[in-house]
């Protein structure tokens, strides 16, 4: 395996549960040292992907490789190099949080000939503000997640598989989590981070994949994704900007305000034509200009907007596009 061979590589994965196609030709590739954001609503196939990566489920077709090996066949060897945080952390009710963490660290260091390092564990317990002496039965969802996170982050592994790891954490812990993931990245670890929290994915991810109905519909760096979508521009010009309305790569053109207070034109431009629009605007005499890159939410809505409108929910993106 060469240095730059992908840590995770999935090609045309298909997984069916009876009539349901949970993974539908899914392609995913994660490079060493990369934090990869994995976006999509519940039921899109994120957890199924994780479970295939862990070798708990076997794909119906397609190939999947972790560190160049088959996760179904070489599960034990591969699991020495990865740690997993399930979306719904279930712990053994009569263990304490500290015991549960140790169980995982011990299982992982077993057979490697060296004991795990308790300082890292204790430091993380401190930072995540967990009481390790309480029985896990009495923990809230957030606390159970902390246990799984600490167990995963204290381990010496190359890959972290995190399935909505902070769904139950408060904003303070969310900040700690982001800090710790930055450290993991600095240490050269790869992370597959499935999440609903867009700001988290935006802050942490090198690359992002958006999954829909078991298929990756968009994948790339955030700026690549932004490039592919529309930028919103609000501009006040000397002469009216109406002529832009008829240009093919300008959408949802409308004006706001009155001639006395100064008219503002608001419109969206396809990502790869922003430069052209700027040149045209320059000729009209710009008083002020605001350009918003698409938010991650808009990116996601672009792929899921029709789902929502089918359910009678209107989204801001939808309104602008139509």
């Amino acid at each position: 395996m060469s240095e730059n061979a992908p840590v995770i590589s999935a090609v045309d994965l298909v997984k069916e549960f009876g009539p349901v196609r949970a993974l539908d030709d899914l392609n995913l590739s994660i490079a060493p040292g990369e934090v990869h954001g994995f976006l999509g609503p519940n039921g899109a196939g994120k957890s199924t992907t994780m479970r295939v990566l862990l070798g708990l489920l076997r794909p119906d077709s397609g190939t999947i490789r972790l560190f160049g090996r088959d996760p179904w066949r070489d599960a034990v060897e591969l699991h020495r190099r990865l740690a997993y945080v399930p979306g719904d952390v279930e712990l053994w009710p009569n263990l304490t949080g500290g015991e549960a963490i140790d169980v995982f660290l011990r299982l992982r260091s077993r057979g490697t000939g060296r004991a795990f390092d308790p300082t890292r564990r204790d430091e993380l317990i401190e930072r995540f503000d967990l009481d390790p002496r309480k029985k896990t039965r009495t923990y809230s969802k957030g606390n159970r997640q902390k246990v799984a996170l600490i167990a995963a982050l204290a381990a010496e592994v190359d890959l972290l598989l995190l399935d909505e790891p902070t769904a139950g954490l408060d904003p303070l812990m969310e900040a700690v989590f982001q800090e710790v993931i930055h450290e993991a990245k600095a240490a050269g670890r790869s992370v597959l981070l499935s999440s609903h929290i867009l700001s988290q994915v935006e802050a942490l991810s090198d690359r992002i994949s958006i999954i829909r109905s078991g298929n990756i519909v968009e994948s790339g760096t955030l700026s690549e994704l932004r490039h592919m979508t529309r930028t919103t521009i609000e501009v006040q010009t000397e002469s009216p900007a109406d002529e832009l309305a008829s240009v093919s790569f300008v959408h949802a053109f409308h004006t706001e305000g009155s001639p006395s207070t100064g008219e503002r034109s608001v419109f969206e431009v396809d990502g790869d034509h922003v430069g052209e629009v700027m040149q045209r605007l320059a000729g009209l005499g710009v008083h002020s200009i605001v350009a918003h890159p698409p938010t991650l939410e808009q990116l996601l809505m672009r792929h899921y907007g029709d789902d929502l409108s089918a359910r009678g929910v209107s989204t801001s993106t939808q309104k602008k596009v139509s």
Partner: protein, 551 residues
């Protein structure tokens, strides 16, 4: 303004008092909806059991001589220790035999049902956080506990009605039958209110149930001591809620006043429960939570350690229960020797061989082994639970192979079951040694061996269920319980049912020789062990090939 406040403080308006109960009706309907199957099953189950006991005693002992000899069991100190004070056993009738020998089991089940139901709707709701969701609505502080108690009391009333109908249908005296039924109601009320208190004390539902369960266990043990000492029980008996119901002496003295004790305590404990619930926050407990270790013992960090941790609790519970049962069964040895000549033919048919006592104990070894098999099925069901709750998946995300995970759990389970069988053997041996007037020690080794020799049957059950766990996991537990249930029915009534041989052959427990009455036959030992090994191998093979927790 301030005057108004002070007056309302001193004399809260009826409306304010009601407010703590708002939503009770809605919650009650909700609880009934949630419990429609569970509670119905309990109530019908207890009712049917009462009906069965009332009618079965007439079949077991038809004539007066038979009745005299079987009632003798319950008139003895050992019999009284097991089932009750033994009122009227010197002149037994069917109804006295029914209430003296079997009513206790109705009371115990009613107590368990009542305690579990109250804990289930109060503390476990708080523990899971669902109570918070409910209490955020227009729901009064006392509404949940009130609704849970109403549900429990109502279910107990229906149960008592069924118990009464069961006894009355056997043409027993109506007063006595009403007393047995009221006894069950009173015991139910007492343990419902005890659970209302324990739910305030412990933070976990397990803790709350355990406290109520410990109270039931204590009630049983206190009653054992009191009732064993003399016929009708001594002063000690008056300290046990279970004994209070029995002290009504149905069909003998027919006295109602002892029931004032459980009912009175129920009122006091309920009030205490309500009062305590105002002294704490939602989801908090009055007994501070005990903290555990912050670091795991080294043994936990291995698949076997994890398996032992998971299965230990269940195995320990079965082990203790079966040890006590074995001691008691063993302690009947002398009674069996005495009763050997006078036993009715029906009971004689259930036991193999001429020698009543050894036959009885060989039969008991088989009977206990069925329970050990049940412990095995329940352990395997727990493994399936580990899988469906996602803990197996999480454990397997560590570098643990599937083979290692299931192998470790099976190893712990089988070792535990073998240990329980050995403990059962020791228990029966000790019980027999203690009770037999002559040569007690002579049988110890044989009784121990009798229990351990049942291991192949238990092993075969575990093997079959494991094979299913590997290939058809959904069928594993149902098939396991059918195997155990069938074995239980065959052990209890098999010889009376006169089933075709093809059907009786299916009973895994029907093949081993009845040692010590018969010689050890090695063929069934080998065949059953073969089934067990094949099942384990198949199961492990399936488990390593199938997907984990496929939804």
């Amino acid at each position: 303004m301030s005057t108004t406040v002070s007056t309302t403080q001193h004399t809260p308006s009826p409306a304010a008092r009601q407010a703590t109960l708002s939503g009770t009706g809605t919650l009650l309907r909700f609880m009934i909806r949630r419990d429609r199957i569970r509670t119905t099953a309990w109530v019908l189950g207890i009712g049917l059991m009462g009906f069965y006991f009332a009618h079965a005693v007439q079949v077991v002992a038809e004539s007066q001589e038979e009745l005299l000899s079987v009632s003798g069991m319950y008139a003895d100190p050992v019999g009284r220790m097991m089932v009750g004070p033994g009122f009227g056993m010197e002149e037994p009738t069917h109804e006295r035999f029914y209430s003296g020998g079997y009513a206790l089991f109705i009371y115990i089940l009613t107590a368990l049902f009542s305690a579990f139901t109250v804990v289930r709707h109060t503390r476990s709701e708080e523990q899971t956080g669902r109570a918070e969701l409910v209490r955020a609505n227009v729901v009064g502080r006392h509404a949940t506990l009130t609704a849970a108690l109403i549900l429990t009391v109502a279910a107990n009333l229906v149960t008592a009605g069924l118990v009464f109908a069961g006894a009355a249908s056997a043409e027993y005296s109506l007063t006595g039958s009403a007393l047995v039924a009221s006894g069950s109601l009173a015991v139910g009320l007492f343990f419902a209110s005890a659970a209302a208190v324990s739910s305030q004390l412990s933070e976990s539902s397990r803790g709350a149930s355990a406290m109520a369960g410990a109270m039931l266990g204590l009630a049983y043990v206190i009653r054992m001591g009191g009732d064993m000492a003399e016929v009708g029980g001594n002063a000690l008996s008056w300290f046990s809620p279970l004994a209070w119901a029995q002290q009504t002496a149905p069909y003998v003295e027919d006295r109602w006043w002892p029931l004032a004790l459980p009912v009175g305590f129920a009122v006091v404990l309920t009030a205490l429960g309500f009062w305590l619930s105002t002294k704490r926050d939602v989801a908090a407990s009055l007994i501070p939570v005990r903290l555990g270790r912050s670091r795991a013992r080294p043994s936990l960090g291995t698949p076997a350690g994890l398996a032992a941790h998971t299965l230990r609790g269940g195995l320990r519970g079965w082990g203790i229960a079966l040890l006590l049962t074995a001691l008691m069964f063993g302690a009947f040895a002398q009674t069996m020797v005495d009763a050997a000549d006078t036993l009715p033919e029906e009971m004689g048919q259930m036991f193999a061989g001429e020698d009543m006592m050894l036959g009885y104990l060989a039969y008991m070894a088989l009977f206990m082994a069925v329970f050990v098999g049940a412990a095995g099925v329940s352990g395997l069901q727990q493994l399936r639970g580990e899988e469906s709750r996602g803990r197996a998946e999480y454990a397997l995300s560590a570098p643990v192979s599937r083979l290692g995970w299931l192998g470790a759990h099976l190893g712990v389970l089988l070792a535990g079951l073998l240990l329980i069988l050995a403990v059962v053997g020791v228990g029966m041996g000790l019980g027999a040694m203690a009770s037999l007037e002559e040569d007690g020690g002579r049988w110890f080794g044989e009784l121990f061996l009798a229990a351990v020799l049942q291991a192949p049957a238990v092993f075969a059950v575990v093997g079959i269920v494991t094979a299913l766990l590997g290939w058809l996991p959904r069928l594993a537990a149902p098939v396991g319980w059918v195997l155990i249930g069938f074995a239980g029915v065959m052990a209890s009534f098999g010889s009376l049912l006169e089933l075709p041989e093809a059907v009786t052959e299916l009973n895994l427990y029907g093949h081993l020789s009845e040692y010590p009455v018969e010689e050890i036959a090695w063929t069934p030992v080998l065949v059953l062990s073969g089934i067990g090994i094949a099942g384990l191998v198949l199961g492990l093979l399936g488990w390593t090939r199938r997907e984990v927790n496929r939804v």
